[in-house]
Amino acid sequence: MKPRRNPSLIAGGAIVALIAAVAIFGPALNRTDPLAIDLGLSLAGPSPAHPLGCDSLGRDILARILAGARVSLGVAIVVVAVSMAIGAFVGGAAALAGGRVDGLVMRAVDIVLAFPGILLAIALAAILGPGLADLVVALGAIGWTGYARLVRGEVLSLREREYVEAARALGARPARLLWRHLLPGVAGPLAVQATFGVGGLIIAEAALSFLGLGVPPPAASWGNMLDSGRAFILIAPHLTTAPGVAIGLSVLGFNLLGDGLAQRFGRGR
């Protein structure tokens, strides 16, 4: 079979790889301290020493973008990993158990999904207080439901297949059945959903930090950089441009990659 052209996969993969490289190696290559305050440089424009300029406290914006990349991407990836693990377990277990357990679990999922996601995250973040760990909990508490639904649906259709039947006949216990035989079959759609999920979470993290409910200052995240830059948008628009472009580019990358993967696996959103 001739491989089909898949420009989304290539472009998205390239952008994601670039951003991951920036988050991993950026802070080591650019040794400027993202927290160093120099009021003499307040709102300074781009210069050789500070390629993206400085914020209102004279902190180097490039250094803060690089530090923020770790926070923003890190939060998104950790939350996706946690919610995917919980979702896969709950969804898979519900599908295998069937009957009343399945009904109860899925009702619970319905009720969480009856809340618009970001609202629940805002409410949880408000109660837990600002902080990195609390942010992850707030976002993860909502995230798992989508994966649970996806995995349950896939497992329900997969478990009737003959190879699963065979494994069961050979005496495989439910846990092994789920782990060795069912979840690998769900991997494709899960990868697609997780990729879109990272993009969505980058925006969610930014929105929460923007509302003052995410990563607390002075640590840098793209969301709180946007928030603090907003006050100076008239006199120093470069304060918002840098984090805005960083968020936009990463979300674009993950969305393209998700599109590409969906094409590859023939399904998805």
């Binding site: 009720i111 009856a114 970001i118 609202l119 949880l124 109660i127 993009g199 003052g212 948008i233």
Partner: protein, 306 residues
């Protein structure tokens, strides 16, 4: 009719679940709201007094029953920071949020349809690439950045539109486009995909074969069929406009429910936070119900399923 009744009945447990989860959020999540309100160094007597005033010294089940009882009477408690009834504060702000959400919906449709039609009419052509490039940009640019960007261009540089606040139609334009941009992009992509499928269908070939031009065939036969999945998606995403409005309201100083809620969070005014979360969530549930009903009106097959 039986379909409508069944859908309405299904609403009851979901609404009760939403109410219970909202209550649990405020009352069961670790952290003492009273200490949060008064600060770590508050005198124990003050903490006791406020706890009593809020009814937090009652057993949990009693608080829950009282909460449900109040809710049934339209009573959401008293706001601590504003010394007014939560229900009244919400009633004052709610219309502004609905107005913004509807305007965002209109803006999304206004952008999505031309883009989707251009792209779907000539898949792979230059119009398709341009329109879809624009759409993927619309999904990627977060509205917390798009809002300020639109403000710079249209209010500050061009001076065409007011910067912030609520007023006439002109005040509505920038917030509406900020809110609707992401939805517009999603809708345009869906419309394109669904048009591409429809154009390849047999009945479209028949329409062309009997002599209709491509444009007339599309409008007479294709568009209507292509719209069904778009309407579904529109409904699924319409609820997101309600919450998307939270950030948009902050950016544009729009006096709606979102700003009320964020202010309540900053003031640690938990009764008010609880009320706002509840109203947002219930609105979302109702919007989803309306979508289902609308969908079944467009496509009668839905009513027969299940």
């Amino acid at each position: 009719m039986r379909y409508f009744a069944r859908r309405l009945m299904a609403l009851v447990p979901v609404a009760l679940g939403v109410v219970t989860l909202t209550f649990a959020l405020i009352h069961l999540v670790p952290g003492d709201p009273v200490v949060a309100m008064l600060g770590d160094y508050a005198a124990p007597a003050d903490v006791q007094a406020l706890r009593h005033e809020l009814g937090l010294d009652q057993p949990l089940w009693r608080q829950y029953v009282l909460f449900l009882y109040g809710l049934a009477h339209g009573d959401l408690g008293e706001s601590i920071s504003q010394r007014a009834s939560v229900a009244r504060l919400i009633r004052e702000r709610y219309p502004a949020t609905v107005e913004l959400a509807l305007a965002g919906l209109a803006a999304a449709i206004l952008i999505a349809f031309p883009l989707g039609l251009i792209a779907g009419a000539d898949p792979g052509g230059p119009g398709d690439l341009g329109a879809m490039g624009f759409a993927i940009l619309g999904i990627s640019v977060p509205h917390l950045y798009l809002g300020p960007l639109l403000m710079i261009v249209f209010s500050l540089d061009l001076g065409w539109l007011p910067l912030t606040g609520r007023g006439g139609f002109a005040h509505l334009i920038l917030p509406a486009f900020t809110l609707g941009a992401a939805l517009a992009a999603i809708l345009a992509r869906m419309l394109r995909q669904s048009l591409v499928e429809v154009i390849g269908a047999d009945y479209m070939r028949t329409a062309r074969a009997k002599g209709l031009g491509p444009v007339r065939a599309l409008f007479r036969h294709g568009l209507r069929n292509a719209l069904t999945p778009v309407v579904t998606l529109l409904g699924l995403e319409a609820g997101a406009l309600l919450t998307g409005s939270i950030v948009t309201e902050i950016i544009f100083s729009w006096p709606g429910l979102g700003r009320l809620m964020i202010a309540a969070i900053n003031n640690r005014d938990y009764p008010l936070v609880q009320g706002c979360v509840l109203v947002f969530a219930l609105s979302y549930v109702v919007v989803n119900l309306l979508t289902d009903l609308l969908y079944s009106a467009i496509d009668p097959r839905v009513r027969l399923a299940r």
